[in-house]
Symmetry: C2
Subunit: 336 residues, 2 copies
């Protein structure tokens, strides 16, 4: 295992020190419990947004803390849920009197711990609503979930619900628009290579030199099937394998306006993601879908895994408006 | 070789189709010759900025085309210089009557071809100035260069000279400020793993499982030395190996204000880059340097190579002002 780390047991805390050094003008970092919080939190009268989950998916979630997106993120250890204590402290830190929304990816540990944190916060008189993301069409249940996994759509929920909160919407309205994004978004991912968790030093799974895994989760958990690649049309084949189930599931219909996210798993270079995006654009056009917004890059990753995921979100004027609104975070920034 | 590509010979053209699909509202893509140009070019009265070089370093250069940065980029094939024809056409496309600056990384092919393009443009009556970047302190000459290689500082030159051009500065002034950035910036890189060029299918070099290469170039060309890693303090050791020669070379002195860029080589996850950044912040503080601006992420890459480079730029009020100015490109965006 070769990684740019020091002590494998201190990876998350060491990265937090880097985030604090780089962004300390805008973010507060806490180590016990581990949290990344907007420097100006709580913002009086604004609904607060908290997310969190295992680390190893950066920039998700800590890279999305800032005006127009999250108020706080709770990083767990690598691929490990944060604790209720972290989520409860983050909830208190961002409550500006208008209530707090928890954005929770559908993994058993995350769901249970956020529920406990919400109960603790409610006992303090803080109103809490939860948005659960479960957009991964690959599998119905998995190693870490009952029901579908929450993946790429989480980034879109954090951006769009964050914009609604910044616009002064109520707790109910912010939660509703976030749920609408989840309801109208679908994702699927694949891997060319496994990743290695620092603590184990071992690859998360095995793949042959000419084989990919379709439907993989963001912790390297198994997908739908392994498949031999077809030299000369790997990107084309993969875009079809991922998009077909996505389009059929919602379903997305001819005439729909969509946002397309082509997301890298962490170890795939940008030039390859643009090749995949060209295929996504081709296939979307064949289905009569109009891609009105797009995002290409590493947004929800699995350490150094090579591969990608694709997310489609059905847009309307309101969602597009909130998508376009200014955002100022380390991982996503425009208009500010 | 497993990559998210189709035909290995068409990687650059296929990625350009993706860039055109994703950013066609803001960028024009040409295929013969290959160019990425601001959609609104030429901007009347503004100095035009053109850069280019071999592909495989994305987002450099094509991802930095847009208001506040480059007017055009010429992508060569992977790790191969673009042709004078590309550079000449790009120069004509962005000349708004105030002249054009070429930003050229110091690689023999790039230098010769940009010189030919400048001569052709001058014969058309277009004034051309050249900024040569050669910030890599690792080696004096290398496989592809006479003199030092141009690496990370190129991103900073494109941003800062781009802001000066956007502010209406003259051809002479834009070129001078770009040269000042190069003169005040130093870089060095390292690799944990090689990369594989699509056309060859072979790793660019060999490294043992417990070995890194210090002083590597962005095409995998040899560095200063190979070294065994020290488990438990890899990031710390590497940050010291890279920063010491950088600091001694300019030299950077106690009390200096600096911009620090921790750049990923393409296959290294963000969580590791932040761990390196924490070490950079520590070492800079030990030397009495104040990091006033920073950038952490993948900006000048080597396909899927794992590793990083560090760049320090000595700042003054003028450079900081242009660094902070709005920029709106796919790869770097703020204030717009």
């Amino acid at each position: 295992m070769k990684k740019l780390i020091n002590d494998p047991e201190q990876v998350v805390a060491d990265a937090l020190r880097g985030i604090e050094s780089a962004h300390g003008d805008r973010l507060r970092v806490s180590y016990e419990p581990m949290m990344i919080v907007r420097a100006d939190a709580p913002v009086a009268g604004k609904v607060g947004l908290v997310s969190g989950g295992g680390s190893g998916h950066e920039p998700l979630h800590g890279g999305f803390v800032g005006p127009g997106m999250l108020d706080a993120a709770c990083p767990g250890e690598i691929f490990t849920s944060p604790t209720p204590d972290q989520m409860y402290e983050a909830t208190k830190a961002v409550d500006g009197g208008a209530g707090v929304v928890h954005i929770v990816k559908n993994y058993t540990g995350d769901v249970l711990n956020f529920e406990m944190a919400a109960d603790l916060a409610r006992a303090d008189g803080i109103e809490v609503e939860t948005i659960l993301t479960n957009d991964d069409v690959a599998v119905e249940d998995s190693l870490y979930t009952a029901g579908r996994r929450g993946v790429g759509v989480t980034v879109l929920v954090e951006k769009i619900a964050g914009a609604a909160a910044a616009a002064g919407k109520s707790l109910h309205d912010v939660a509703e628009i976030g749920r609408q994004v989840n309801a109208h978004g679908r994702s699927m991912g694949m891997a060319l290579t496994p990743c290695i968790t620092p603590a184990s030093g071992q690859p998360s799974f095995e793949l042959e030199d000419d084989e990919v895994e379709i439907g993989i989760g963001i912790h390297g958990e198994p997908g739908r099937f392994k498949e031999k690649i077809t030299p000369g049309r790997v990107a084309s084949q993969i875009a079809e394998r991922l998009l077909q189930p996505i389009i059929e599931d919602l379903p997305f219909n001819s005439g729909d306006r969509v946002l397309a996210l082509v997301n890298g798993m962490g170890g795939t270079p940008l030039i390859e993601l643009y090749i995949v995006y060209a295929e996504v654009a081709r296939i979307a056009a064949e289905h009569g879908l109009t891609i009105e917004r797009n995002l290409v890059g590493n947004y929800i990753t699995s350490l150094e895994m090579q591969g990608c995921s694709i997310t489609l979100l059905k847009l309307d004027d309101e969602l597009s408006h909130y998508w376009d609104a200014p955002v100022n975070t380390p991982g996503l920034r425009w208009g500010a």
